[in-house]
């Protein structure tokens, strides 16, 4: 037995192709996910250098960011978005990459379709030109976002020069109280360590509260690792992981599955392994969380009061908070509960899976969306959309007065026409509340699907626990 290792170190060691003096290690990539926004310049680069995609069998493309969520029989109205979607479909064809194009019955958000189809597996390195690639870490994969130059490198070579990150243990123990969700765990972490707290690190989420989460909940947690500054965040695989994956389209079958599971069982962190940094959160003390400011680290328990800049000693921090509260048009010291809202968005790679839709529907069932509020429900993929419809969730949403739309990133990133107008407030299940993120001048409160649904009913920021039986 050598030195005990964390899962992060094991994944790293298993993927080093070569490490030469004076250069970072070259890391092999097991799965490269591609979407329309961050890839066109990379494919153009391949073309101009006369290179091919080295491993189309480890590459998968989908359309999600620029795609409308209006009915599929309508054309893409925005000509620039239409050209970008078409470009991806053509690039995939030219370079021999499988692709869920705009009209594919499996199309969906890149971080939803990967796990859903069993593309994402434990022990893998996964990259995508998207910072929410950490989502796939929920399966015990080292998954991180990359830029377009790196997309081109991986397309051409299946490798990336990388420097080892620090290991950062995020221990979450205890039992969540009713009305408190995986989203609240990750928003609490962002509030605790701040938006830059995990810079240079990979999170390993562990502890009893993490173990008791479903795979979909684990994805919600890992998804927002980048919102606490960490490029990757992961959870060691266990029986929950294997049960979720078994039988999915791209996972190994039969004896190969058994052999894979045996290998995956070696991944969890060894007894006695140490981390560069650690933080712990008591799950049983958490309340539903909500953000008040213009980055995901500016969050608080839903019953809390908006912080006072005058209590902040560091001048730049005070200035940043003041600027955030001005943008949000919120008064320091006042509670957020009861703050009127205009839009509720349920969707995004953070919270658009079937369990998220069920959670929102269970709050809305038999109730109505406040007439002042526009509520949009955007499933993460076409497969989820069909599943939700077979369960009648679409009916629950429609009857409550919410819009039931086609799959995509939608108003999380507001590239596709789904957006806030200046000054509007939203409660959103997405991952970013940056200025203008959901539309120029729009103001975002990040929260769980349960909190979002409760707020839609009340027409104001609401505590879902008051609506629970």
């Amino acid at each position: 037995m050598g030195q005990p290792k964390t899962i992060i170190e094991k994944l790293w060691d298993q993927h080093v192709v070569v490490e030469k003096p004076g250069a970072p290690a070259l890391i092999y990539i097991d799965l490269h996910l591609v979407h329309e926004v961050t890839s066109p310049q990379a494919f153009a680069g391949l073309r101009s250098r006369g290179l091919k995609v080295r491993r189309p069998d480890l590459t998968f493309a989908t359309t999600d960011h620029s795609t409308p969520t209006t009915p599929k029989n309508l054309p893409i109205v925005d000509p620039i978005a239409a050209a970008q979607v078409k470009q991806l479909e053509e690039n995939a064809k030219e370079f021999g990459i499988p692709c869920f194009g705009y009209h594919s019955p499996q199309q969906g958000i890149v971080h939803v379709i990967g796990p859903e189809n069993g593309l994402t597996q434990p022990g893998m390195t996964v990259v995508c030109g998207d910072s929410h690639t950490a989502t796939h870490g929920a399966f015990g994969a080292l998954a991180f976002g990359i830029g377009t130059s790196e997309v081109e490198m991986v397309l051409a070579t299946q490798c990336l020069p990388q420097r080892k990150s620090k290991t950062f243990e995020v221990r979450v123990d205890g039992v969540l109280k009713p009305g408190v969700t995986a989203k609240d765990i990750i928003l609490a972490l962002c509030a605790k360590v701040g938006i830059g707290g995990g810079t240079g690190s990979v999170f390993e989420y562990c502890g009893s509260a993490i173990r008791s989460l479903t795979m979909e909940e684990r994805m919600t947690v890992c998804n927002m690792s980048i919102e606490a500054g960490a490029r990757a965040g992961l959870i060691a695989p266990d029986d929950v992981t294997y049960q979720y994956l078994n039988g999915r389209r791209f996972v190994p079958k039969g004896a190969e599955w058994d052999a894979a599971v045996e290998r995956w069982k070696q991944l969890p962190t060894d007894e006695g392994a140490t981390y560069d940094k650690s933080v712990s959160i008591d799950a049983s003390s958490l309340e539903p969380m909500i953000t008040f400011g213009t980055n995901p680290g500016m969050g608080m328990p839903i019953s809390g009061a908006v912080p006072e800049p005058s209590n902040v000693s560091d001048p730049i921090e005070r200035e940043s908070l003041t600027k955030a509260l001005n943008y949000m048009a919120l008064e320091p010291g006042k509670p957020l509960l009861g703050q009127p809202i205009d839009v509720v968005f349920v969707g995004s790679c953070t919270n658009s899976r079937i369990s998220d839709l069920r959670a929102a529907a269970s709050v809305l069932k038999g109730r109505k969306v406040n007439p002042k509020v526009r509520m949009m429900v955007v499933p993460g993929s076409q497969i989820i959309k069909k599943q939700a419809e077979s369960e009648g969730l679409d009916q629950v949403f429609r009857e409550a007065g919410a819009e039931w739309r086609e799959a995509g990133c939608s108003m999380c990133i507001a590239m596709n026409g789904d957006q806030l107008t200046p000054g509007q407030y939203s409660v959103s299940t997405s991952n970013r509340n940056f200025e203008g993120r959901q539309g120029k001048g729009g103001r975002t409160f990040l929260a769980s699907p349960e909190t979002a649904a409760a707020s839609a009913i009340e027409g104001a920021v609401a505590d879902v626990r008051r609506l629970m039986p």
Partner: protein, 199 residues
């Protein structure tokens, strides 16, 4: 890539912490399939009014700012999305370096691949830089990793050896990886594959 040579420049300040890539270039400009024209969209929503007219008070709209090559920003610059459009927009505007107390990981990686030097300084130096007169000039030399202030004092900044070599020589990283073909083939030969997306 062009070779990264020493230069002197006056400073453009946007001393805000946690400047995210949605501010640097809003997502609606990411529908492009080229890298062109992004310099005009840099900090778009801070820079232009509702009608798309330049806001006269914003720093990037000053004629003097357009000829300066270094941006002095607050802590954790470039957090948020992985969009390489952010360094593309910054370099197209004219920046060759950004100075901060820290950078988000993905932004930093993306910058180094686009001849945009992320310079990390300690909080004391950062304060000193923020307090400099508006027309103060800095000198930046990557080879010696030094940033020289108008009073002649200088600080060194960290850059990893490999990135420094690529920047100074104007070599791109993909060329280096392509040279490792033998190692890649050897790795692939012993690797446990569990995925075939073409199946």
């Amino acid at each position: 890539m062009i070779k990264f040579t020493p230069f002197s420049t006056k400073i453009v300040q946007i001393p805000v912490d946690n400047l995210d890539t949605d501010q640097i270039i809003p997502a609606r400009f990411l529908k492009t399939i080229s890298k062109d024209g992004l310099g005009d969209q840099l900090f778009y929503d801070w820079r232009y009014d509702a009608e798309g007219k330049p806001k006269p008070e914003f720093v990037l709209n000053q004629d003097w700012a357009k000829v300066r090559n270094v941006l002095l920003a607050g802590d954790n610059f470039g957090c948020g999305s992985s969009r390489e459009h952010a360094p593309w927009a910054l370099t197209q505007y004219g920046f060759r370096a950004v100075i901060s107390t820290s950078f988000a990981d993905i932004f930093k990686n993306n910058s180094l691949k686009n001849s945009l030097l992320p310079i990390v300084v300690d909080p004391e130096t950062h304060k000193k830089l923020l307090a400099l007169p508006e027309d103060a000039e800095l000198s930046i030399d990557l080879a010696s990793q030094t940033l020289t202030l108008p009073d002649g004092s200088s600080v060194t900044f960290p850059v990893d050896e490999f990135s420094k070599y690529l920047l100074l020589e104007g070599v791109d990283e993909l060329g280096y990886i392509l040279q490792q073909e033998e190692s890649i083939q050897a790795f692939e030969a012993q690797r446990h594959g569990t995925l075939n997306t073409l199946a």
